[in-house]
């Protein structure tokens, strides 16, 4: 118990804003201002007025972020130093990426991203290890590894930005232009959001769950990089050449990252809840398995059945159903596996309370919703400038609206009806799949339909 008079003093003599700022905070502010102004003086001529405004506005935003979340300060400093190191190692020659040791094995964007990928997976293992063994040091190591992964991921993005200019000055662009790049962004943003909540609530035990979604993203990233050569730096199509990309995409990914985080804390919630109420777990899992099994059957029939389906639209529905079925199967299997692991009673003791998990879920969805709203509006404004209309009901726009409506409904349920518990947790998990479709499915699936439909 804290000393009571301290509480009183704290409340009576509320320290002023500037009294709460530590000396290191001032150093931080000075660094940000110096860096920002240096960049402005050196590169303002290469930017348009909007980009200059972004740079200037980034200075107070970074200071505020660092002041309200102190862990962000050393993180940014590390990212800055390593990015500058990586850039200087290139000394203006792209081919150095293959020959200079520091680039080939550490800081070229591809190596940095590989490090990030490996470290995230490792951190996931450490988080789960620490959860099951109650080993505080293992959990702390997991946090440290996550921070390192986050540093490498961000360094990878920064160096890639520079590399894009080295490949060809005309190619240069912020690395948020294709799926490979935004997946790195997704991993980094989701990880940062998680670290914020970890620090704020002083609990490391849910880390494994959140890192699970990041590891899944890493798996996709690697698959995508190796099979599609997506890690190649390619020039921008004319429609993407706009300052809007610099704000629209990151804002969107804060939304996506927060929704993913919410889905994973909800998963943790569900696992904990069903551990304590096993009979309800049966009630949920049995229909899920029947559902998944049904789709698996359709999939097998589709793959090996003799009746090749002639009607293309039917094939589409079938394959859509099959994919939905696979997703259902994977989700169920994942939940079941996690549930099984958590049947180890040892994990229950230091696992966050249901209330806390619910609280984080709500906060993440609120944050995600706010940023997703901003991102969608920015997207509409960009569309007005590039496509001649702020809203055209294009599939991507429409799916953004669907995601928005979904979470708007979730928030209304929670605020106005005070709804909570497993239904809201399940809804948050389902929300991730809706989000995933908006972010990936539209590109892969509907564009396929699109080209198919173009008669």
């Amino acid at each position: 118990m804290s000393v009571p008079s301290e509480a009183l003093n704290e409340l009576l003599n509320k320290p002023s804003f500037f009294q709460r700022i530590k000396p290191t905070d001032w150093v931080w502010a000075a660094l940000v201002v110096a860096g920002g102004l240096f960049a402005f003086v050196k590169y303002a001529h290469a930017m348009d007025i909007y980009e200059q405004a972004f740079l200037i506005l980034a200075i107070p935003s970074m200071i505020a972020l660092g002041w309200s979340w102190r862990a962000f300060q050393p993180y940014s400093v590390a990212v800055t130093i390593l990015s500058l190191l990586g850039i200087s190692l290139y000394s203006g020659v792209y081919a150095n990426g293959e020959t200079v040791f520091g680039l080939k094995y550490l800081f070229s964007s591809q190596s940095a991203v590989m490090w990030m990928s490996a470290l995230f997976v490792l951190a996931t293992l450490f988080y789960f290890g620490g959860l099951f063994t109650h080993h505080e040091f293992t959990l702390k190591t997991a946090s440290a590894i996550t921070w390192t992964a986050l540093v490498m991921g961000f360094v990878g993005l920064m160096v890639r930005w520079y590399e894009s200019y080295l490949v060809d000055p005309e190619f240069g662009h912020i690395p948020v232009s294709n799926l490979y790049e935004v997946f790195i962004l997704f991993c980094v943003i989701t990880g940062l959001l998680y670290m914020y909540y970890e620090g704020r609530y002083r609990t490391r035990t849910m880390g494994g769950f959140v890192l699970l979604v990041i590891s899944a993203a890493v798996a996709f990233l690697l698959w995508y990089a190796f099979t599609r050569e997506a890690d190649q730096i390619r020039p921008l199509v004319p429609a993407l050449k706009s300052y809007w990309m610099k704000i629209h995409v990151p804002a969107n990914f804060i939304g996506y990252g927060a929704f993913a985080l919410a889905a994973m804390t909800s998963t943790a919630y569900l696992v904990k809840y069903y551990y304590n109420n096993p009979s309800r777990l049966v009630a949920i899992l049995v229909p899920s398995f029947i559902f998944a099994g049904l789709f698996l059957w359709i999939l097998l029939r589709d793959l090996f059945g003799k009746e090749a389906v002639a009607n293309p639209s039917f094939t589409f529905i079938l394959s859509a159903a099959t994919h939905a079925g696979m997703i259902a199967l994977v989700t169920t299997a994942l939940l079941a596996a996690l549930g099984y692991l958590l049947l180890l009673p040892s994990t229950q003791k230091n696992f966050p309370s249901l209330d806390l998990l619910e609280d984080i879920t709500y906060k993440a969805i609120a944050l995600g919703f706010a940023f997703f709203t901003v991102a969608t509006i920015l997207g509409a404004m960009w569309a007005a400038e590039a496509w001649g209309g702020y809203w055209s009901w294009d599939p991507k726009e429409t799916w953004a609206l669907i995601v928005w409506l979904n979470y708007a409904a979730w928030l209304h349920f929670r605020f106005s009806k005070g709804a909570h518990g497993t239904p809201m947790a399940w809804w948050a998990v389902v929300g991730l799949f809706v989000t995933l479709f908006a972010f990936l499915g539209v590109n892969m699936f509907l564009s396929g339909l699109h080209s198919y439909g173009e008669l």
């Binding site: 000393v3 009571p4 008079s5 509480a7 009183l8 704290e10 409340l11 009576l12 003599n13 509320k14 060809d168 005309e170 190619f171 390619r234 020039p235 199509v237 004319p238 429609a239 050449k241 706009s242 809007w244 209330d355 806390l356 609280d359 609120a366 919703f369 706010a370 709203t373 901003v374 509006i377 509409a380 007005a384 400038e385 590039a386 496509w387 001649g388 209309g389 702020y390 809203w391 009901w393 599939p395 429409t398 799916w399 669907i402 409506l405 979904n406 708007a408 409904a409 209304h412 349920f413 605020f415 106005s416 009806k417 539209v442 509907l446 339909l449 699109h450 439909g453 173009e454 008669l455």
Partner: protein, 659 residues
Amino acid sequence: MTQRKPYSTQVMQFLGSMNLAITLLVVIALASIIGTVLQQNQPYPSYVIKFGAFWFDIFRILGLYDIYSSVWFLTILAFLVISTATCIVRNTPGIVRELKHFREHIQEKSLRLMKHSTALHLTQSSGEVQKTAETILKNQGYRFKLQQNEDNIVIAAKKGSSHYWGYWLTHIGMIVICLGGLLDSRLPIMLAEWQGTIKPETRPVPVSEIAKESFLSPNNLSFRGNVNIAEGQKTDVIFLPIRDSYLVQPLPFKVELKDFRVEHYSTGMPKSFESDLVIYDSDLAQPISKTISVNHPLIHKGIAIYQADFGDGGSEVDLKFNPFNPNYKVPDLKGNVFKDYKITGTSAQYKLELTDFRLFNILPITDDKGIVHQRNVGPSVTFKVRNAAGEAIEYLNYMSPIMIDNRNYIVSGIRTKPGEALKYLHIPIDEKGTVQGFMQFLHNLQNPELVRRAASSTTQQSMQEVNLKNADIEQQVIESMIRLTQVFATRGFEGISADINQRFPEPQRAAVNEAFAKVLNVALRAVYLETLKNKGITNPTEKDWLFYDDSLSAMANLPLYGSPWYVQLTGFKQIQASGLQMTRSPGQNVVYLGCLMLVLGVFLMFYVAQRRIWIWLKPQETPNTVEMILAGTTNRQVSEFEKFMKTLRQAFESMSVRS
């Protein structure tokens, strides 16, 4: 007995209910999905092909081809606006009360029942505690009101009222966005069409032939349409696509396209699309010249002009007709894209319809190391050849040879139905890089004398080699060689199979097939050698034999090719067209205002918690003792509030410890 509420109240309650609001949000989300899965606003015939006549009609009646303009979808949206408005109207009096009142008259019992409520006894004077409480509340940003009751004091405090402004901003913002959208919607056009005052045009005809009912008023408040202008041309209208037809929107000015440019990256990918425009307006002293590009529109008189598309503007192309049969010789043609030409000089009448010319074609090309690159393969021309019966086949012919598996071919794509994938004919090129070598070989195969000569010499040579002298057999072999070659040169392998099927019963066919293949092969080789000999080549190299194999593959496909000629693009003068989109959208700024309200509101609602704290003090009979109830409510950030209330309790407890 409960009394039945008045009907109007029930309606209000229903419209403003949270259940309706959430249902509407979900229904709109689900309905929107349909429009993303079913491609919107496509030409109607493509829907018929996809769904069949029966479903096509049902989907059309349901408005699924333009779902976001369908009456039922708009009705749901209208319901959402009404529901939101009702919600605001119903909640506002309560919110105003919340904003105004401190609820200082609250009862002791209610305070004790609150979720965040705690009671404590302090050994401290009531006045001292009150003073401390006021300081703390002020420090924490609370506003408060004091209520002196008979035997107690209530300090009623609150903060975070802007949370309610967040409620108003988000919900009014949504309505503003919908109204802004309505301003830019096609509702007026839909209504006018319904009344029959406007009638969309379905035929692709010049503007001068379009009926007056298809023209919209130049004062039309909002529109979004397209127009293609060829370089050097002007326009003062744009076209608004509507279902499978279009409307014409006159502009208050003229736009001329001076030049259109596509710039490319080193990879061949397009880097920028730019149009040099000139605006002629009688209100302007001088025409405006401006270059627009993607992401950089031009706005004049409230009409924004965007770079949306590009295409051919009627390029001049030089075409050479290489007949597959020497009888079909026709003269060369100089034509323009988008024009039709009668091809005379053959027994059958054909129409050549030039549809497109492209200067750049970026295709994936596999290099000799097996790596795929995106390469520019140069110009191409697209055209249709229509026969007398009106059947057309579409062709896409590349001007330059394309490298496939390390060998160069002249490539011609064909399709018989729009929307089909192209099938390709690969004609091997000769040492000069032309199709002449192939054509010569093909023509030789159709030349009876040459075939007879080649067949005779090869047959005689073979018979001599095996010491066989039989004039009858010799003659028979020669004749079958000539016949088979003839069939192959006109109808390909298919023709030969058909021929066998017609002349031999089933059991013999396999054997005959084998024999014929041998004979044919010998004959073809003989003719090929003869062809080479005419060119002065007596010792064919491996390259020559590859050419021979490629030629046969190409010939085997010829019967399916449909056109009597390979139409070769020999020269061109490119004339480009720029696709401009023009919009007038008075609702845009209204929508942005709504968006701003929405964003501000969302942040206020999520990050400002509306909190109330009551401090209830009752001096006890013993001097310097006071009973205290500490109670509070919050609508957000419950855990933080709980923590704060705990600290508050500790603070007051410490007061009594110290004294």
